[in-house]
Point group: C2
Chain length 129, copies 2
DNA sequence: GTACTTAGTTACCTGGAGGTGACCATGACA
DNA sequence: TGTCATGGTCACCTCCAGGTAACTAAGTAC
């Protein structure tokens, strides 16, 4: 984990990333990736449509995140040779399959969020007295 | 999302966090939380045992992360009135239940990591030429 | 000629995650 | 007397995710 750059590079070319879960979570655990994927679940969207849909993302982060998601194979990008440019983003089969286990996690979060918040309130109350 | 501090505070006291999934992912999506939870799956561990188990975490981050996980109710902390101090960390029922949907995600990651890495390599190759 | 559109890119800035090393109190042991 | 172990905390530093604002190229409408 704590490694020099050369070792890091070597490890990445050999195994790309030592721990699959950590790798996936690193990508998906950011502020926007999951939001973008779920926004694309109903179907194809263009860049500005995504931008409007998500609302509070900057165009820079949208661009960056889309690029990473495309590189990792979660989404597909189709560029039309028109002016003004038209670009369509679609979930790939990999992206769809990812949302299946993710859905279970989303349901867990919905079901247990109240309990988590209660727990937080309790601990806050204990620290305040 | 983009909000002043006062509005943020108000929202948190009212609903604690607007989006459950985002809230959970914010906590669990960091570098260490999931690693700690899985390290605790087999059973109770003490602070330094966890530190040794995970290996490359700093004591400060271990302490901080454990505190957050305890506040959110994922783990339980038991302090023994001994000298030198003895503290035991255990997965709570909530923590255990969380690992169920998480397990599905871990399996997905294991199964599809190769494909993700291939996709990355392809895109890297395309950009290099 | 001027403004609008699309899909980005670029430079610059900030906050927070995470690391490092020193420090604390207490008792056991040599 | 000093050293070790435990479970932390504190001050300080670095790096990067993410935001903002300005800019681009080409066509269309006024």
């Amino acid at each position: 984990m704590t490694s020099t750059n050369s070792v890091e590079t070597q490890a990445q070319t050999q195994f790309d990333h030592p721990c699959p879960v950590r790798d996936v979570l690193d990508r998906i655990g950011d502020q926007w990736s999951l939001l973008i994927l779920t926004a694309l679940t109903p179907g194809t969207l263009r860049f500005n449509e995504l931008h409007r849909e998500i609302g509070d993302i900057s165009r820079q982060m949208l661009s960056r995140t889309l690029k990473r998601l495309e590189q990792d194979g979660f989404i597909e990008r189709k560029l039309y040779a028109e002016v003004p440019p038209k670009v369509e983003y679609t979930l790939s089969p990999l992206g769809h399959s990812f949302l299946v286990p993710m859905q279970a996690l989303i349901e867990w979060a919905d079901a247990n969020h109240v309990q988590i918040c209660q727990s937080r309130r309790q601990h806050r109350a204990q620290n305040e007295e």
